[in-house]
């Protein structure tokens, strides 16, 4: 077998569990697999940021300073119930995401399948509506696929494409301040009411949480009562 990321041949660890098809054989060599850093330890109750390595001044009780700020703002208070993520954003993850999302090597999404699903069911369940964060039409054409939707499809649950997005310049070029100020790029495009519905937004990365909160706000206005998010990476 060849590793899905580094393409070097390797011998996957085989055990009786694999033969009895309880577990799938890993598509990555152990070197690539172990280079990912899973989230662990204490995290912020809202955004899921790990407290380890964070300066004490950035923490207030069970929340991080950023989330305290969000909660103090009447416009944004409780818009996003919580965010949970699978991996930390280390150098290796940066490389893999660049290959997957920017170079467009779609197949890499398989490498996330097992841990993405396992982590999802630790925090959520099938009663939530799955809503991937959309790309603008222009960006979707440029990339050829929506990475958030590719992740959502790993869950094998019905996907609700009920958001659309305007085209704006790339998010990554803006500071937090600028991102906060920007108008909402999302619109609700669903046909049925979201009254009383619980929703999980799916995206590849939580950076400042602005994108996810903008999307959550639109869904809240459409009647949803509880909106959380689940991302591959917490940066």
């Amino acid at each position: 077998m060849n590793c899905l990321i580094c393409h070097t041949p390797y011998n996957p660890m085989m055990s009786w569990r694999h033969l009895l098809t309880i577990e799938k054989v890993d598509c990555l060599c152990s070197k690539c697999r172990h280079a990912f850093m899973r989230m662990n330890g204490e995290i912020c109750d809202i955004c899921g940021r790990p407290f380890a390595g964070l300066e004490p001044s950035h923490r207030q009780g069970r929340l991080c300073a950023d989330c305290v700020r969000w909660q103090e703002d009447d416009e944004w208070k409780d818009v996003l119930t919580k965010n949970r993520s699978v991996y930390m954003y280390n150098e290796w993850m940066k490389e893999v995401v660049a290959l997957w999302k920017f170079r467009g090597d779609y197949a890499i999404v398989q490498a996330f399948q097992e841990e993405f699903c396992r982590e999802f069911y630790r925090h959520f369940d099938h009663t939530f509506l799955i809503v991937p964060i959309p790309l603008s039409a222009e960006r979707l054409y440029e990339r050829g696929f929506n990475q958030a939707k590719a992740l959502a499809e790993l869950l094998a649950l019905p996907i609700h494409d009920i958001l659309t997005r305007h085209h704006l310049e790339k998010q990554s070029k803006k500071s937090r301040r600028e991102r906060l100020r920007t108008e909402n790029v999302f619109q609700f495009s669903g046909k049925t009411s979201l009254q009383g519905k619980r929703i999980v937004l799916i995206d590849d990365i939580y950076t400042t949480g602005t994108t996810l909160r903008h999307a959550a706000k639109v869904l809240r206005q459409a009647g949803a009562t509880d909106i959380s998010s689940f991302t591959l990476i917490r940066s």
Binding site: N2, H7, L99, R103, G104, D105, Y106, A107, L140, Y141, E142, R143, G144, F145, N146, A150
Partner: protein
């Protein structure tokens, strides 16, 4: 994207006036129309000079789609399929990949179908079943350069003969293999041929799998041909996207060319990384014009080629002697018992240890080659007890460049290394040993290259080469024979210095 076939031409769906249900990804179109060139069309020189000799993705072309389409409709450029269906699967038309595990599919937003794409050359932008490759069909007249060579060294007798053969291949668009021993001075052998090509207004490319070689050759060529525009193409170089009469390129960057060069030189065809090799062959074939010359430079042709040369089926010229005229030092073999087991007990075989100790005592610098990184770490650990200055270096070592420099400066007496240093690194007056020469990684060509590190300078033309092994292999014997054969040929042709 999808195309509509209408009135003998392809039209991108986005430029078509009405939606057409027959729109298809380009790889699914059976007969590709060809359009004759309209000489009166007011073409865009910017677009055509950007595209000249290239094969690019639409997103690599900084021009509006309707302008590109107009040039297509007037026969100045063509759209080619990015992927071609084969008997057993697909072939990527940019990099030539046909291996199943290097393809994957995804629901493509550009063509609304499940699109297959090539994972092998994905670093250069995705080529999928709906991707057109844009190729120029127009070429501008090429500049001629009068006596462009300003190099006043002299060629050795062996070099001169090879240089004549290269020049002949350039003039007659022939194919030639230059088999030059390590240290023969093969770059200079190209100079007269390149000069002749530039005088004739030909475009020349020197391609190699390794970025190091591109960087090393660049200043030498610049000095030799000061009046000729020269560009170096490798990942991260500033010259990417440019074109010049003289081009130095790595395999990957060469993939963006199509029918561009009159002279194609492939340096170190047999070089690491091995996986790139078929891609380099494909890229070089694609980047050459139909009528062009092809010159291979190598110190260690693969066995299949050696056989072809022997049978007279491949045109080749050998340079069996080094430029300084001393014979190649030949390796000796020494059995070193089950060294892996000894390593487990944190010991090195006694004769290997003795060899290292004697280098340190006489203060003669040396390389010790080992088969794998894990072995490297263990060996370095043991040898550090002998001399703290001993270091190890491997391909992914972040301090690779610093350690090699420290070795050159004489601050490291002995460098333990994996096969990464088998080429390129030239340090005068060193000895070389291989631990575990029986390992599969030490092929004939790798061993010849390793031995080729020794005796490179005229002041110190000899040195000790020791292959420590736990069972001789065919590869070891073939490597030794190859060097002995070269020495014999050099002697017969009178290329060696007579003391």
């Amino acid at each position: 994207m999808r195309f509509i076939v209408s009135e003998g031409r392809l039209i991108p769906e986005v430029l078509a006036k009405a939606n057409d249900p027959a729109a298809k990804p380009i790889s699914h179109i059976d007969s590709m129309p060809s359009i004759p060139m309209h000489p009166e069309f007011p073409y865009s020189p910017e677009l055509l000079s950007f595209l000249e000799g290239k094969q690019l993705l639409l997103e690599e072309l900084p021009f509006p789609l309707d302008l590109i389409q107009a040039h297509y409709e007037h026969g100045y450029l063509s759209y080619e399929k990015g992927m071609m269906k084969t008997k057993h699967g697909w072939r990527c038309m940019r990099c030539g990949n046909e291996e199943h595990h290097f393809f994957a599919s995804f629901p493509c937003a550009r063509c609304q179908t499940v699109c297959t794409y090539c994972r092998k050359c994905i670093m250069m932008g995705r080529v999928s079943t709906c991707t057109p490759l844009v190729v120029s069909r127009f070429s501008f007249p090429q500049d001629r350069y009068l006596s462009p060579l300003s190099w006043n060294g002299t060629l050795s007798q062996g070099q001169q003969r090879a240089a004549d053969a290269v020049e002949d291949a350039v003039v007659h668009n022939g194919e030639l293999l230059v088999w030059a021993v390590c240290g023969a001075g093969k770059t200079e052998v190209l100079f007269p041929g390149i000069a002749r090509a530039l005088e004739m207004g030909k475009r020349v490319c020197i391609a190699t799998p390794r970025t190091d070689v591109v960087r090393e050759l660049f200043p030498r060529l610049q000095q030799a041909f000061p009046s000729v525009p020269l560009i170096a193409l490798y990942g991260g170089s500033d010259d990417r996207g440019k074109f010049a009469p003289l081009v130095l390129s790595t395999t990957h960057q060469l993939l963006r060319f199509s029918r561009a060069f009159d002279v194609m030189v492939i340096d170190e065809v047999d070089a690491f990384p091995y996986s790139v090799e078929p891609m380099l062959e494909y890229a070089a074939a694609k980047a050459r014009k139909e009528a062009s010359s092809l010159i291979y430079l190598t110190a260690t042709p693969h066995p299949a080629w050696q056989k072809e040369i022997k049978r007279g089926k491949r045109k080749a010229v050998t340079i069996p002697a080094r430029y300084h005229g001393f014979p190649l030092p030949v390796p000796s073999f020494e059995w070193c018992s089950n060294w892996r087991r000894q390593l487990k007990h944190r010991r090195l075989p006694r004769n290997v240890l003795a060899w290292v100790q004697s280098r340190i005592k006489t203060a003669k610098q040396a390389f010790l080659f080992v088969p794998h990184i894990d072995v490297l770490e263990q060996v370095v650990c043991i040898l550090k007890q002998l001399d703290q200055r001993i270091e190890g270096v491997h391909a992914e070592d972040p301090q690779r460049a610093e350690k090699v420099q420290a070795f050159r400066d004489g601050r490291i007496p002995l460098l333990v290394t994996t096969t990464i240093l088998e080429r390129g690194v030239t340090v005068p007056n060193i000895d070389v040993a291989v631990l575990g020469a029986e390992d599969d990684i030490f092929t004939e060509s790798a061993l010849v290259q390793i031995a080729g590190r020794v005796g490179r300078s005229a002041q110190y033309p000899s040195g000790d080469i020791r292959f420590f092994h736990y069972g001789k292999t065919r590869q070891m014997i073939a490597a030794k024979r190859q060097m002995e054969r070269m020495n014999k040929e050099a002697a017969e042709r009178g290329l060696l210095k007579t003391q």
